[in-house]
């Protein structure tokens, strides 16, 4: 598979940047001609991953969140959200529906479930004290961008 396009950005872990990040990725991914529903799915999943990095990654400390996006010629969108924060102690537990380490903040504990449902693949790598990397993949079903009939 060939990479058609790639972007990388970094921003401070401020909640204002959640909307910024999802809008940028949605705009970049639109190069593969996704449907409105596919774009909204990507937007929502990115919002969840970036929110996780902001709330859980750095707790109350200042840090940077890195977001990368790659578009492939098999109509695949790959989004990587990386923080260099505290890391997740138990990834399997964190990914369980309704699990939240911050119930006092009225978190629903549905973040990973939303990412898993709205994207086709999700990979979570986390090292305590080093940070977390969430990689998500979505296949754009009827993308006309790389249609061989064109």
């Amino acid at each position: 598979m060939k990479i058609l396009n790639e972007m990388k950005m970094e921003f401070l872990n401020k909640s204002e940047n959640e909307a910024f990040a999802r809008v940028v990725i949605a705009s970049f991914a639109s190069q593969l001609d996704p449907t409105l529903e596919e774009i909204t799915d990507i937007k929502t999943a990115v919002s969840e991953a970036v929110t996780n990095a902001i709330i859980h990654g750095y707790e109350n400390e200042v840090g940077y969140v890195r977001v990368e996006c790659r578009l492939y010629d098999d109509n695949r969108v790959e989004v990587e959200v990386v923080d260099k924060g505290h890391g997740i102690d138990d990834v399997e537990k964190a990914m369980q529906p309704l699990y939240t380490s911050k119930p006092e903040l009225e978190r629903s504990g549905m973040g990973f479930t939303v990412m898993e449902t709205f994207m086709d693949e999700i990979y979570v790598r986390s090292i305590l004290g080093k940070g977390t990397n969430i990689t998500m993949v979505k296949y754009i079903k009827d993308s006309k961008k790389n249609d061989s009939s064109e």
């Binding site: 959640e18 529903e37 929502t44 902001i54 009225e106 479930t113």
Partner: protein, 111 residues
């Protein structure tokens, strides 16, 4: 994000416009709580007509309000929910505890 209020009998109608994410959720929660008290409302109607985005942070706030309002014997319902938001509701199972209606008029009949 912008929030508008209206009161019909003992129900507060809250219309949320713009994004309902982690960034705006704290403010939305505060505004709902403050206005429920101010208007002495028992029930809450959340109108999503002008909502452009919602993720699981919104679900957290809705479940939180459900808890508070249920304790006081009130009801919370949501109206004007588009398909994308319905999908998030389905994943979270929220529709098992909160009723969804087409519009405010229909919702108020069930209050």
């Amino acid at each position: 994000m912008d929030v508008k209020y209206d009161k019909k009998t003992n129900s507060l109608i809250v219309t949320i416009q713009g994004d309902f994410d982690h960034h705006s959720s704290k403010r939305i929660r505060e505004l709902i709580e403050r206005n429920m008290r101010k208007f002495h409302a028992k029930n809450l109607v959340l109108d999503f007509k002008g909502l452009s985005f919602m993720d699981s942070s919104g679900i957290g706030v809705i479940i939180g309000r459900y808890r508070d309002i249920s304790i006081n014997g009130g009801k919370i319902v949501i109206v004007n929910v588009n398909n994308q938001f319905k999908r998030i509701f389905n994943i979270s199972g929220i529709q098992k505890i909160i009723d969804i209606y087409d519009d405010t008029e229909k919702a108020l009949k069930h209050m």
